[in-house]
Symmetry: C2
Subunit: 136 residues, 2 copies
């Protein structure tokens, strides 16, 4: 996913192209890892000193809604990263030190043979936490 594709997808839905929104997407394209809202704010303030959390969160949630970003909760904070739809549905190993991830192609939902009759499955989460080779 690149910046243009993402903004194009938003445009089709009637969302406007703003410099701030553009920059937010850019940051995610540059740093291919989970990032906390406060770090997005910090990064974007170099170009737009006045941005508010309102703008950050509104965009992060919009981008997640439009499936441009993925989200997970790390240490009590929501983190976001570019959704890597390039290789389909998958999960992540997440480094608890640097936040970098490694894709895990295996999805446990495919292997599950529990009886979930009567249960309406909406979502699932499979994440492995630990130290990546660099942080080990």
């Amino acid at each position: 996913m690149n910046v243009e594709t993402a903004l194009q997808r938003l445009k089709e839905k009637g969302y406007k192209r703003t410099k701030q929104r553009e920059r937010i997407v850019e940051i995610f394209v540059q740093q291919d890892q989970y990032i906390a809202a406060k770090d997005i704010l910090k990064a974007i303030q170099e170009d737009f000193p006045g941005v508010s959390y309102d703008t950050i969160y509104r965009n992060l949630y919009l981008l997640t809604e439009e499936e441009i970003l993925e989200t997970t909760e790390l240490g009590g904070e929501k983190h976001f990263r570019l959704g890597c739809e390039t290789h389909g549905h998958h999960h992540h190993f997440i480094c608890t030190t640097c936040g970098k991830t490694k894709s895990i192609e295996f999805c446990p939902m495919n292997s599950i043979n529990e009886n979930l009759k009567g249960y309406d499955v909406e979502n699932h989460k499979f994440e492995i936490y630990g130290k990546c080779p660099q942080c080990h």
Copy 2:
């Protein structure tokens, strides 16, 4: 796990038996589901009107540390439940409406054949979210 066993385990580690702590464990034994800190507070205030969040969280974390409780993050809030060590390591289906859970005996870590050489696995999470038959 019953109240006595839990408090006994704490005693062995040198932790004291207090009425508040006792009541907290009791609540978890009675309600076998994930509960948010604020709901524990609400429940315990019926007996101890003056309890503070400090007491709640200190005990929740202590009980988690001592592996009497398990924890997960739901909607931006930490939730706790009695650890069901009776049937070993397992995962959960969690109802997004009532919070009740169904145990999933399958653990994806047993089935994983990804190459995680060089990665130090500390933890993992596999949770399925949706509606239970009652809330469906």
